[in-house]
Every structure is written in C-alpha cells, then in structure tokens.
C-alpha cells in the first residue's frame, strides 16, 4: 500500500506497507514523528484513500469510515453536549437501536471501564483519564471488528497512563477484539503489543517487526513486574536506539 502526498512532495508518506492482521490480535505501531503511522491508521479507518493498494476487512474493500472499525482518539473526540451515557450509546443510537436496548449495554460498559455512577455526568466534568474510559466504552458499544487507537493515552499523565494501559489489556483479553494501537511511547508499544511494528520515515515503511510475549504476560499481573523483566529492558533499549538512529538521520537530512 502506498500513499503519496498530493502537493508534489517527492517523499511518499507511505510506501509498500503491507500488514496482515489476525483476528483478536493486538498490534502496536511505533515510530518517530513523520513515519506515516497516523496516515496508515487513517487509511485503515477509511478517512483517507491510498494512492495504490487497498485495505481489506471481512472479505470486502474498505472505502470509507464505518461502524466495523471503531476508533479511539487522543482527546477532544467526545461530544460535550451529551452526558456520559449518551456518548457511550451514540453508535447504537445512530444505528436506530431502541433506547431500552441501549441502556443495559451502556450500563455493562460503564461497569467494564470502571465508570459506575458517572452515567449522567457531563463529559467536561470528568478528568482526562475518565474521558478516555468513556471513549473506550463508546467504541466498544458499537461492537466493532477492529479497534483503531490513535495514541489514546498520549494526553494523559504518567500515573493515569499506567492504569489505562492495564485497562486496555483487560478489555483486549475480555472482548477478544482485534486492536491496532499507535503510540510514540516505546514502553507502551512493548507492553501492549502482541506484535510490534517499528516504522521508519522517508518514505514511511515498516522497519522491523517483533513478536512480543509481554502483553500476554501482563494480563494477569502488575505491569510494573513486566517492566522489571530483563527481556523487556533489553528490547526497550534495542528499540530506543533504533529510533534514535532514525531521528538522527532525519536531523542530518534537514541540516
């Protein structure tokens, strides 16, 4: 798959990117800024059409956004004019589901993401972490086949972030959803990704691919235990130096 920027720039945003996604897989994508990871996600979500190539899901080609591919954004994607319950029930309501059916589904999701008792709160009254819990619940309410997460924890503080990482792992195990997670945090990519793609810029392409054991290990244990694991540290150092090299290359090209 290839995506060229239409402004005559000869650097392709994405070139020859090909990914096969297994059902129920948690794929994390990591890369320095400008490597095209957000472009890739926007193409999968259907917000952009690739210049060449295609996205296939359940045997049909993706041509636009749809309810089968749910999305979780970094921030600002909740609807302030709706309370928490309405936000979470937005997808089913758009599909014309009856209020009596939506209600129990929202209640169950509130329980899952740990927001019991917040159903009637306005979203702007919630903290950043709670807002992302609502965003996760809203996405799950639609029961999508694939969940696309575009740096969902990027705007949160480090402590909240760790809690939310556990939540994402828990949701992944409980629901068995296929998830693509984009992040710029090496630790997060290692912890959450069953499979990890490291992307490189100019043109955007897949640089390395890893199969990781940490997501499975972390499901039932404290994330901090995983972080102490020697394998984890080794991988982290390896990937960090890889990304540093890429950054230095970019800087060199600019200078």
């Amino acid at each position: 798959m290839t995506f060229k920027l239409p402004d005559g720039n000869d650097v392709d945003a994405l070139k020859n990117v090909s990914i096969d996604l297994r059902k129920g897989e948690l794929l994390s994508i990591l890369g320095p800024s400008g490597c095209g990871k957000s472009t890739l996600l926007n193409i999968v979500a259907g917000f952009l059409t690739p210049t060449d190539g295609q996205v296939m899901l359940n045997g049909h080609q993706v041509t636009g956004p749809g309810a089968e591919r749910g999305m979780v954004f970094q921030q600002g994607a909740l609807f302030e004019w709706m309370n928490v319950r309405k936000n979470i029930g937005f997808g089913p309501a758009m599909q014309g589901m009856a209020e009596t059916q939506i209600r129990p589904r929202v209640d169950a999701l509130l329980e899952t993401v740990g927001l019991n008792g917040f159903a009637n709160k306005a979203v702007y009254e919630l903290s950043g972490g709670m807002q992302q819990r609502v965003a996760l619940a809203r996405c799950l309410a639609n029961d999508p086949d694939v969940i696309l997460m575009d740096e969902p924890l990027g705007a949160l503080d480090a402590l909240t972030r760790e809690k939310m990482q556990s939540l994402i792992l828990k949701l992944w195990k409980e629901t068995g959803k296929t998830i693509i997670l984009i992040t710029h945090s090496v630790e997060e990519a290692l912890l959450l990704g069953e499979r990890l793609l490291v992307m490189a810029p100019r043109p955007g392409h897949i640089h390395r691919e890893y199969q990781l054991p940490f997501a499975d290990m972390a499901v039932d244990t404290d994330l901090r235990n995983i972080k102490k694991h020697p394998d984890f540290n080794q991988r982290r150092e390896e990937i960090l130096s890889m990304i540093w090299e890429m950054e230095e290359d970019i800087m060199g090209m600019k200078a």
Binding site: G66, A67, G76, W81, F90, M94, C139
Partner: protein, 423 residues
C-alpha cells in the same frame, strides 16, 4: 473640567477610604489572599462591588449636585434668584450728571412672578429709576434712557455703574450679576449663573423620574411607554429572527460546501464591514420609512453576524469529533444534527448576543430617522420640543433594555450551552 476634577477626587477619596476601612476589618480568607503575585494575574482581579456601588452613587451625586436636585445632599452654587439692584450715572445733553437705580427681580425659569416693588421715585434729576424682570440664566437689555428726561438726545449716555466707569463693550460686576454695555450704549444685565446646569441642558434626576412615572401612566404624545418600548423590541426580535432564519442555514452551508463558501464569501465579506446605519438611506429609498424598511434593516444587521457565527461554528469543530461520529456509524444527516449543529451552538450564541446588541442600536437609530412609535421616536420627538428630561429618560431606558437583553442572552447561553468554553 471642574466636573472631571471632582469625579477623579471622589474616585481617589473613595479608594483610600475603602482601603483604610478594609484594612481594619478582618479580611476574608480566600485563596487569592494567599497569593503574593496579584499584579498581572488576571484570575486574581475581580470587580470590587463596593466600587461599583460607589461609582453609580457618585454619578447620581454629581448629576444631582449640578442640577440642584432634592435627592442630592450637596449642591454647587445655583443661579441667583431674588431681588437686587444697581445704580447708574448718566450725562445728558446739557453736560449735567444724575444717577438713578435699577431694581431687578430674578425669577426661576418657568415661574414668572410679579415685578419687583419700586422704592420712591428719585425725582431730583433727569434720570429716573427703572425696573427689570429677568429669568435665571438669562440676560436682558435695560433701556434706562427710556424714562429719563432727555434720554433720547444723541449725547445722552451712561458713564458709570455703581460709581465705576463704563464704556461701550465693557462690563462692570455688580451685586448678583454683571452689567455690560452694548456697542450702541445700551445696558444689559446678566444675573449670576452659578455652577448649576439649566434644566433645559440637564434636568435633575427627580425631573427625569417624575417624567418617567408620568409617561408610564399617561404616555407621550398619545403613545404609551409600553407601546414605544414594545414596538422597538418587537422590531428587534422580528428582524433578528428573520436574520437568524436565513443566516444560520447559510452559515452552515458555507461551512460545509465549497460552492456555497465560494459563492457567498465575497458577499458576506463585503457586507460585513458596512455598518447597518449606513444602509438606512438606501433602505428608506427601497422599502419606505415604515415597518418593512425597519425590519429589512434589522434583518440585514443580524444576517451577516449570524452567517459568520454559524460558519465559524462549523469550521471550529475538532476533526476528531467528525471522524469519531463517522466511525461510530453516523450518516451525514446524523452527523449534521447530532454533532455539527450542537457543536456550533456556543458560536451561534455568541453571534446572537452580538446581533441583538447591534439590532437594538440600529432600531433606535432607525426610529430617530422616522417612526410612529418606538423608543427612538420618543426621544427625537422630545428633543424637538427641548424636553431634555424625556430625552434623558429615553436614553436611560434604552441603555437598561440593551443591558437587560444581554443579561437574558447570557442566562440563556448558560442554560442551553453549559459546555461552552469547557471542551
């Protein structure tokens, strides 16, 4: 200048008194009290309500003091009212000199009283006493030669006032006034004006208040106050609603569609900077001076503001919200009704507040030009009869209603779009 100096002194005096009192009172312990840096910290500055109250009281006090109001405990010196006199010395054709007195009664404007009592006539020489009746703040010619023997002779002239020499185009200060001589040698007397304003320039507050009560009860020129204000408000509301009805959908279309944006951009950008008042002459030519004209004017005043507000509301949406709605399965129509319209409401309310303010100003101006009923019509009619109290009452009323509209709009905003500024 004097009034400005008084105003500034009251401002400073009240400040220092308040500071002294506040220092001795146990200060309220709040978070701002703990801040060491307050100068430059916007959040630490809140309006001092005591200052607001004193400010309004000061305005009324100065108004009252300079108009001799009953409501004001202090007054600046008013005009001289009462009886006074001066004497003059004249030379007749035979080079004889004689003197006589002028007795003056100064009466308050609008309360004409009898002529002053005249003492026994000075019958010893050719000059005879005179009597003058003048209103406060006015001056009057005194033809002292008229009743003097030989006063019509060419060489007769007045040479001294109260013993002081006077020549044409000179003045002499006498008790309670000034006597000046015209080019041709006639005398004129101006009583002391004091520092108070003449009611025709600025009536005292109680005159405005009693006029308000009178007009609220009996109406003005056969139109009740409620009708006058009601008509103005009705025009504003109809004009604003029509403007919103066209402007908001147009703004949405411009925010959502290239063709609409391109088509209307030049029109909107051209019409926006034209003040509605500049359209009055054209609107009168096209639609006449009655309701159609005024409503069209207010429609135009509200239209561009609402169009731009709605356009800004659509353009200002975070793209993540649109993407989120689509990936949750919303259709275009659902996106419009559930996401784009609610998201634009804060901008639309801001626009509506601006538009209502502009419309209120425009309607008053339009009524000044021509109207049968309306707040603007009332004050322009009153100004033609120099009824300054009605004019001032109208201006205060217009200000209060404009302020009231804004408060109502803000209340509506707080209840209808509570998320404004919190996204």
């Amino acid at each position: 200048m004097l009034i400005l100096a008084i105003y500034i002194s009251i401002f400073l005096l009240a400040y220092f008194i308040y500071q002294t009192v506040a220092r001795h009172r146990h200060a309220k312990q709040d978070y701002n009290q703990r801040k060491t840096v307050t100068f430059g910290d916007e959040s630490a500055v809140s309006p001092n309500r005591a200052a607001s109250v004193i400010s309004i009281m000061t305005l009324f006090l100065i108004w009252g003091a300079f108009t001799g109001s009953k409501f004001s405990p202090v007054h600046v010196p008013g005009p001289f009212i009462g009886d006074t006199s001066f004497s003059y010395t004249a030379i007749n054709a035979q080079h004889q000199t004689d003197h006589a007195s002028v007795y003056i009664r100064v009466f308050p404007i609008g309360e004409k009283t009898g002529k002053p009592p005249v003492s026994t006539r000075d019958q010893t020489g050719f000059a005879n006493d005179d009597v003058l009746h003048v209103a406060a703040w006015r001056s009057k010619l005194i033809r002292v030669q008229k009743n003097d023997t030989g006063g019509k002779e060419k060489t007769y002239r007045v040479v001294r006032i109260n013993g002081q020499t006077i020549t044409p185009q000179q003045s002499v200060i006498v008790a309670n006034g000034v006597v000046s001589m015209t080019k041709k040698g006639s005398l004129s007397f101006t009583p002391d004006k004091g520092w108070q304003m003449e009611p025709i320039w600025l009536p005292p507050p109680e005159a405005v208040l009693s006029r308000l009560i009178e007009i609220a009860r009996d109406g003005y020129q056969n139109v009740t106050l409620l009708e006058n204000v009601g008509w103005s408000l009705l025009r504003v509301i109809v004009g604003f609603l029509l403007g919103s009805l066209v402007g908001i959908p147009l703004g949405y279309a411009m925010g959502l569609n290239n063709w609409f944006r391109g088509w209307f951009d030049p029109i909107v950008e051209f019409m926006r900077p034209i003040p509605p008042l500049a359209l009055i002459p054209l609107v009168i030519i096209w639609f006449g001076i009655w309701e159609t004209g005024k409503i069209s004017l207010l429609f135009l005043a509200a239209l561009w503001i609402m169009t731009i507000a709605a356009r800004a509301g659509v353009s200002g949406i975070n793209i993540a919200k649109v993407h989120a709605a689509y990936s949750l399965g919303a259709s275009k129509r659902q996106l419009l009704t559930h996401v784009i319209i609610p998201n634009s409401l804060p901008e639309i309310f801001t626009g509506a507040r601006v538009a209502m303010g502009v419309c209120w100003g425009t309607v008053v101006a339009a009524e000044l030009v021509a109207a049968e009923k309306g707040a603007g019509k009332m004050i322009i009619a009153a100004s033609k009869f120099q009824q300054t109290d009605v004019v001032i009452m109208g201006i205060i009323l217009i200000g209060l209603i404009g302020y009231g509209i804004d408060i109502l709009m803000r209340k509506a905003e707080n209840t209808l779009v509570p998320w404004k500024g919190k996204a």
